[in-house]
Amino acid sequence: MRPNPRHPDPRSASLVGAVDVVVIGGGVLGSAIAWRLAQTTASVCLIDREDDLCEGASKGNAGIATTFYAPPGTLEAQLIAESFPRWEDLCDRLDVPFRRMGSLTVALDEAQRDRLPGLLEQALAAGARGARLVDAGEAREMEPLLSEGITGALVLPDEGIIDPVRLVCGYGELAAANGARVALNCTVTGVAVRDGRTAAVHTSRGTIQCRYVVNAAGMGAGAIADLSGGEPLSPTPRKGEYWILDRAWGARMSKIILPVPMPDTRGVQVVPTTNGSVLLGPSVQDIEDEWDTATGQEALARVFAQCQALVPSVSLAYAIKTYAANRTVTGDETMRLRVDETVPNLLQVGNRSTGMSCSPAVAEHALALLGEAGLSAPDRPDACRRLDRVPRLLLDEDPEHLDALDSRYRQVVCACEDVTAAEIDAALTARVPAVSIEGIRKRTRATGGRCQGSVCMAGVAFMCSLQTGQPPQDIRSGMRGATLGVGRAG
């Protein structure tokens, strides 16, 4: 294996010594908190049980940077309002694709149209800048793909789309650049508690002393709270199923399309993504097994029918993938950001739906809450605040100049998404490097296009193999450590 001289391997280095803060959970909230803390004088360690960042609910996020989701006056609404003006700057610093394209909440009948003024009032009160109502004609001018049968819409011009996985990886990468320890493949086995305070975290990779613990473990938050002697939490999984349509079709969409929310559900959305594809979903189903990410014919058929009502030209002829993502539900608590009721140096952090949209503000508030709990952590003037940009062949208007930058741009590996060897090598040699096919897909899109890796997956596996020194059959290709092959022939 080619060693990365800058950093210990996040997946195998033992955990020893002490830090100020251990953050448990490498999803969007845990990674954001680690990113923010790493810019201060506090030392931080980010732990996740999976072998990559962004493997839980955050991986299934649809990528809408919302401006209006929670009722005005709630903590969640405040965090969203504090976060959404920051996306241009933050995504630029973290090398994350972002587009503030605006959304339309579309009424399909008279009853729904009658609910739009109430929604507008709430949106404005929640801080959604520029929110306004438009009639059917104007809505269809803004998004010509909308059905002729619509009756009006609420425009939220500041809503945007982010690559939600790249955001988590960006938070983690900049945290590591600022000295945060990142420990993946690392299961928390116990928490040492002294005098009612957390004092150390025992893991499958060793024990690390700490002054504070942040529990951002998503579905694992209940177990972490138990081990820490904190208040009981019982998160349960809620499954959402999606279709992904080809970016060659998705390129024609100009707005995020949302239905008028129902009392019991937000409904099915038509969401363009930063890579050009379009998501149709989600269905909603409370389940028991957090590992159950199976899609089903019935739910997918329902999702499609509901999207067709909004955008009649959606067609499954352009479907490239289906998937299910499980979000974390903890009773009625949609946003959790507070010190534990019994353990004064344990911060409880979690969110059901808008974790990504809240994440920059959650990171600021977490720092403030830790400060109130006694952590002195001023910003370091020398902290790195920007990641090096990795140019992407697909997005480059003037691709010829990439040739001079790095000759590996001459080698296209994934032809559907135009991902070059230069981009894949950047993912393989990052501070928190990809080591699996899934890790490469998350950071570069390779194998995620319309042929779903038919052309490039073997090449991607061989590149992982060369970089990690593992034989191709041992390269991870699925969740829970599953590998590409089961052994070597002959």
Partner: protein, 292 residues
């Protein structure tokens, strides 16, 4: 011929056919056959991702070698190991050992071959699981002596199933061929355990596939397996932006496919389509079966 797709070309006005610049994407049998037909009268560049001609048939195929020699002798230029990436306003972005550059062309002949259907196209529902591999990926891994599974299901038919079944015969694993239609089972005439006329509807497992649910008529059946090779539902492989969906301006698609199509048949279809392109451009004979 099933799967044959094409549309009209848009030559620059005032150009005679002799000066046409034609980019052929794909140096498989279809692309080479087009190049043979076009090169004597046009300036032809043949582009392929792989560093050699032949595509799925490989360079050893006699027809491939014959066509490659003939096209090059007639003036065709090869750009191998080069990916055609975008088609914008009669310019094709080429990315390869010669650098990243735009090639101006009056017509793009897209002969990019085929691929098996994805899970979503199947449609096959279920989880995203390790051990589920598109046939071309399985082929590369088998070449690298990777044991795909202990009990490998190959679902589909046609070219890809044939390639994979042949290679799996040399591995120490159980193989089950889920033949999408009984005809494809007969064509392979192997001694592999075959399940006729069933289709994979869903897959399940924890991390790795452990079971495929098959369907025929209204019936369902479980098939235990720890690998599933997707080798069915052959469809055109499209990955040049601006030339994804037919019709696209300036693009002629030459991707004939079907379970009974032999190399010589593909070549014949391709040559006919290339000739029709010239007759269209000459304005002499209206092309039969033209898609307007």
């Amino acid at each position: 011929v099933p799967g044959e797709v094409r549309n009209g070309a848009t030559p620059s006005p005032g150009r005679s056919a002799g000066q046409l610049r034609i980019a052929v994407v794909g140096a498989g049998i279809a692309g080479l056959a087009c190049a043979v037909e076009l090169s004597p009268r046009a300036s032809v560049t043949i582009i392929d991702r792989l560093p050699t001609v032949g595509g799925v048939l490989g360079y050893e195929q006699p027809l491939v070698r014959e066509f490659a020699r003939e096209a090059v002798a007639a003036g065709a230029v090869l750009a191998l190991g080069t990916t055609a990436s975008r088609w914008v306003d009669n310019r094709l972005l080429l990315v390869g050992p010669d650098g990243i550059r735009w090639l101006t062309a009056d017509t793009l002949i897209y002969a990019g071959g085929t691929r098996p259907a994805t899970l979503a196209e199947g449609p096959v529902t279920g989880s995203r699981l390790a051990g589920v591999l598109p046939a071309p990926v399985a082929e590369h891994l088998l070449e690298a002596e990777v044991l795909l599974g202990h009990r490998v299901a190959v679902a589909g038919g046609g070219h890809w199933a044939g390639v994979i079944l042949k290679r799996l015969a040399h591995q120490s694993c159980q193989v089950i061929f889920v033949a999408e239609d009984p005809d494809s089972a007969r064509r392979h005439e192997s001694d592999v355990a075959t399940i006729d006329g069933w289709r994979v509807r869903s897959i399940s497992g924890r991390g790795r596939i452990s079971e495929a649910i098959l369907e025929r008529g209204g019936q369902r059946m479980r098939l235990a397996c720890d690998a599933l090779v997707l080798a069915g539902g052959e469809r055109p492989l499209r990955n040049v932006d601006g030339a994804i969906f037919d019709p696209a301006p300036g693009v002629v698609y030459v991707q004939p496919h079907g379970p009974d199509l032999k190399a010589a048949d593909v070549a014949e279809v391709a040559r006919r389509m290339a000739r029709e392109l010239f007759s269209e451009l000459d304005g002499a004979i209206p092309a039969p079966g033209k898609v307007s």
